[in-house]
Every structure is written in C-alpha cells, then in structure tokens.
Point group: C2
Chain length 200, copies 2
C-alpha cells in the first residue's frame, strides 16, 4: 500500500473517529460538519469527499468492522458446522472491539452513546450499515451452504437472524435492567437462535 492509500485510510479513520467523538460529547445536532473536518485537520469540502453525510461518518467504523464478519466466515474451515462457524466468525471480529477498551468506558461516554443511538438520523444510518453487513453475511452463508441469494430464502433468513441477535444483544446491553457483559449477551443470543428459538 503506497503512501497515497495509507493517507487516505488515515484520513477516513480520523474523520470517522472525530465524528463519533464530537457527537458523543455534544450530541448529534450540536456538531457541524465543519467541526468534524477541523478536528480531523481537513477542509469541510474534503469531508464530503469521504462521506456523504454526518451519519455515514459516524457509522463507518462499525460498518467496516461488521463487514469483516462475512470475510471471517469465508475463511473458517469447511468442516465446521454452520452455526459454529458463524458464532466463531462473529466473536473473532465483532465482540472483541466491543468490550476491550478501545475507548474509555466512563459514564459520560456511555450516556453520550445512548443519546446518539436515539437520534433519528443516526438510527437510519446505523441500520443501513448493519443491513449492508447482513447482506454480506448472507452472501457468505450462501457460498458456504451451496444456496443462492437470488433464489433461496435460506441465506437471508440465517443472516437476518444473526443480525437480529446482534441487535438484541446491543439493545439489552445499552438498555437492559440487569447489566451484563456484552459478550455474554451475544453468546446467549446466538445460543437461542441456533437452537431454533424454543419458546421459554
């Protein structure tokens, strides 16, 4: 990777990170695109060369990481049973970054994240990213199971269920009465889905 591409990647990450940081600190509507650009050390106009909206910038890192789940799934050994492979792929690329620091998990930050997730525009953008990742996952599932995303419901249903499990875990993690570690919630969610959602 040449200098050119490296710098682009750095700028992209700097912008995305600046967007997240400022939004969590001040709230979605109190951050101007100009502020984000300034924080990342580029011009307002350059921001829009990388992202077509504030929301997209905020979601970009989540999206980048989520898409990797599909890649990971492709690289799991062929013999591994489907649900096991999926669980492993998800944990390999998703769960880690969520619990291990990467950010200061202080009160103020969590509160800011909660606020952010409630903002309508962010919600839409987040779900767009989430579903794009789910689609990628469906493609990987299809490849693995010999099904076809344009012919069969199956890969979409599996990927969709996985996506729902992730969303459910996030929801309970952020809004649940009884606080539990994210990894545990996710593992529990996968267990239930893989077991066919038996009525409790």
């Amino acid at each position: 990777m040449g200098l050119r591409e490296r710098k682009k990647e750095e700028t992209r990450i700097a912008l995305s990170w600046a967007a997240i940081k400022l939004t969590v600190e001040r709230g979605f509507d109190n951050v101007k695109v100009e502020d984000i650009a300034a924080e990342a050390g580029v011009s307002h106009r350059t921001f829009n060369n990388y992202f077509s909206s504030k929301g997209e910038a905020i979601t970009a890192r989540h999206f980048d990481r989520a898409v990797q789940i599909a890649e990971e799934l492709r690289s799991r050994p062929d013999g591994e049973p489907l649900w096991e492979a999926i669980t492993n792929a998800v944990f390999a690329r998703f769960a880690l970054g969520m619990q291990e620091g990467e950010r200061p998990a202080d009160e103020r930050w969590i509160a800011g994240v909660k606020l952010m997730t409630q903002h309508p525009e962010h919600r839409g953008e987040f779900l767009k990213a989430h579903m794009a990742a789910v689609d990628a996952l469906a493609a990987a599932v299809a490849e693995r199971t010999g099904t076809d995303t344009d012919r069969d419901l199956y890969p979409h249903l599996v990927a969709g269920a996985v996506g729902a499990a992730i969303l459910a875990a996030i929801h309970l993690w952020l809004h649940g009465d009884a606080p539990a570690p994210f990894e545990e919630l996710l593992r529990d969610a996968f267990g239930q889905v893989a077991a066919g959602l038996p009525t409790p």
Copy 2:
C-alpha cells in the same frame, strides 16, 4: 373522529402517497419537497409539519401498516401457539395490501420501486420504519409470552427473525431469479423460521 382529525389524516395520507408516486415515477433525487406538497395541495411548509423528511413521507404508509401487525398479534386468541399467531397476524395486516392491487402493478411501477429501494437515503428511512415496527412486535411478543423486553433477549430475537423473514421475502420478490407471488414467499419464509432454520 371530528372533522379536524379526519382532515389531518387525509392530508397525511395524501402527502405520503404523493411522495411515493412522484418518487417512483421520477426517482428520489428528481422530486423536490415542493413538488410533493403541490401534488397534495398544501404548502411546502405544511409538508414539514407532517414529516421531517422526504424519506419519512415515503415510508409512512409502510410503517403505519407494519405497526398494525403488533396490534393484530395482541388481539389473537390466547390459546393460539405463538408462531401460528404471528403468522396469522402478519398475513392479516401485511400480505393483503401487498398483492391485491392498491396500485397498478405495471412494469414501469415495479421498476420505479426497485430504483427507489436502492437509493441510500430511502434505505435508511425504510429500515428505520421497519425496525420501529419490529420493536413494537417485540413488545407484543413479550406480552404474550410473559417475557420482558428490558430483561430478556427472547422477544427481540423472535421479532427480529420475523422482521428478517419479511425482508427476505421482499428481497426475493423484487430481485429473485424465479418470480414468485409475494404471499407464497412470505409463507415459505415463516415456515423456515418457525422450524428453526434447519440446514437445507
């Protein structure tokens, strides 16, 4: 319902319908809010009293209908098994309006819908509406099964799986190789999910 509320409802529907119609005919970016308002016979400013964005107006009807699924589920007899009740609720409120006319199902229209669903902003808004409906469904499922949306993963997982089934059916209906009637796709999707997604 007094005259006041009736007129509001009419305006809301007229705006939403105008937004859909114009977008399908011309494409998302070639429709100005002003056009939609004109088509519905109100001012630009009034449009924003009803909807906070073009995308929201387009999605409103889908959303209104989708939320009714949760209401329908609540009104199903208590003895009915969960998956049966859900299937019935979905078909009662969702499937009907999809296949029966309501619109001219001509080529041009379908093509317009496809284009619309690919537009980024619409996608985000659509998913927002979809997930809001899924959340409502989760609440209804929780009520029915004696679980709690702030404590248990279960209702979210079930509702999410149902939502995924609906999305998968829509996807195959719009983009599938082998065209099939929507109702059939949906029924098939529900069957697979209810059966615990056995590997094919």
